[in-house]
């Protein structure tokens, strides 16, 4: 198991909602989105699969190239592929808007 953390200081749009999406099932993950306390975003990931820090970085860099909300993101992962990770993140953004 591995814990991974990222900061995104440019994500400055204020968020007021929170969202929970997904299940920690095989090949899947769950994610929490909550408002952060300042004008930045923070990501923390707990994953059962070791050695994929770079892949996580690429996925979140891409996500934050389009998303600018100041959120705390927490992920529990049971081996989701990069594609499913992005889908779960987009679902969470959709849930934030509701």
């Amino acid at each position: 198991m591995e814990d991974i953390e990222f900061e995104y200081p440019n994500a400055q749009r204020r968020i007021t909602n929170r969202a929970h999406i997904g299940v920690v099932g095989s090949g899947d993950m769950e994610v929490l989105f909550e408002p952060s306390e300042g004008a930045w975003a923070h990501v923390s990931i707990t994953t059962s699969v070791n050695g994929f820090q770079d892949a996580w970085k690429v996925v979140f860099d891409r996500f934050f190239s389009r998303f600018d909300g100041s959120v705390l993101i927490q992920v529990n992962d049971a081996g989701a592929t990069p594609g499913s990770v992005l889908l779960r993140l987009e679902q969470a953004v959709e849930a934030l808007g509701q």
Binding site: M1, H20, V23, E30, T47, S48, N76
Partner: protein
């Protein structure tokens, strides 16, 4: 229009099995009456899983929702089968027990509160072995307490099924609702095969497994009360009916003598086949159970 005709009724029925544990629990309640207790944002996670290299889940795979069903107070406790096989650990067990005990307190104070257990579980979580076993004992004790005042309704929709210690919890419930896809049994097929060999029980023979553990057989043998189709309406209306019915006059698990006589009367000299067993089992009948 054309598309509407082509899409089969089957697709449009609103499958219950395809819902997540959380969505299943939410779907049972009257609109706008429910709220989740100790949800994922409270982050009450298992402390034991990360120690063993397993990512936890923020609700520990146990979802507790309080609200009204058919206008009556109820609490649903739903196990998420996709997380660690719906297994019971220290935290998920404590959530179940606390929810059942709160329902008992409300019921004693003149507000009968039904409990609906949505069980998709292989039983005790192996990573939390002893704590899981203790949790099962506590869950069963809490069900026995609550069922004196209000119905405890177990729903096994599938496709994980309900096995291990939680099958005992289903056994002491007031009512059990199953679909054809669901299974209920103490030892799962793989466990039986591993312990007694493939000749005893072939865990790859799905027809055999469902003919013994499946919802239809369980209902036909009177070990479950209602066989429903896999749809929101099918499961939802059965739960509503049992909530309205209230607690039964006599619980299945109180009829010890009846079941003892049935087991004694079984003819074990030849291989028992599941269809014949239904008839044999029922020929020794008690007075009808009151719903």
């Amino acid at each position: 229009m054309i598309e509407a005709n082509v899409i089969p009724v089957f697709v449009n029925r609103g499958s219950f099995i395809e819902l997540s544990g959380r969505e299943r629990a939410q779907a049972l309640f009257d609109k706008g009456t429910w709220r989740e207790l100790v949800g994922p944002f409270d982050r009450v996670v298992s402390p034991w899983l990360p120690m063993q290299g397993v990512a936890p889940q923020f609700d520990d795979g146990c979802i507790v929702i309080k609200g009204k069903i058919s206008g009556k107070p109820a609490v649903a406790i739903s196990l998420e089968g996709a997380f660690q096989g719906g297994s019971i650990g220290e935290v998920s067990g404590a959530k179940m027990v606390a929810a059942l005990d709160l329902a008992t307190i409300d019921s004693r104070n003149g507000k009968p509160t039904a409990a609906i257990l949505l069980l998709e579980t292989g039983g005790v979580r192996l990573q939390e072995a002893n704590l899981g076993l203790a949790a099962i004992a506590e869950v069963i004790a809490s069900i026995l307490e609550l069922r004196q005042y209000a119905p405890v309704i177990t729903v096994i929709a599938g496709t994980v099924g309900c096995f291990g210690g939680m099958a005992l919890a289903a056994g002491v419930s007031s009512y059990v609702v199953m679909t054809r896809e669901a299974r209920l049994g103490l030892n799962g097929p793989e466990v039986i095969e591993q312990e007694s060999g493939k000749d005893e029980f072939d865990a790859s023979d799905r027809a055999l497994i469902w003919s013994i553990h499946g919802g239809e057989q369980r209902v036909e043998m009177g070990l479950a009360d209602d066989l429903v189709e896999d749809s929101l309406h099918g499961v939802g209306s059965a739960v509503q009916r049992f909530v309205r019915a209230g607690k039964p006059t006599q619980h299945r698990s109180e009829q010890v003598e009846l079941y003892r006589r049935r087991i004694v009367a079984l003819d074990a000299s030849s291989q028992i086949d599941p269809l014949a067993l239904r008839e044999q089992w029922k020929s020794l009948n008690s007075k009808e159970r009151t719903r």
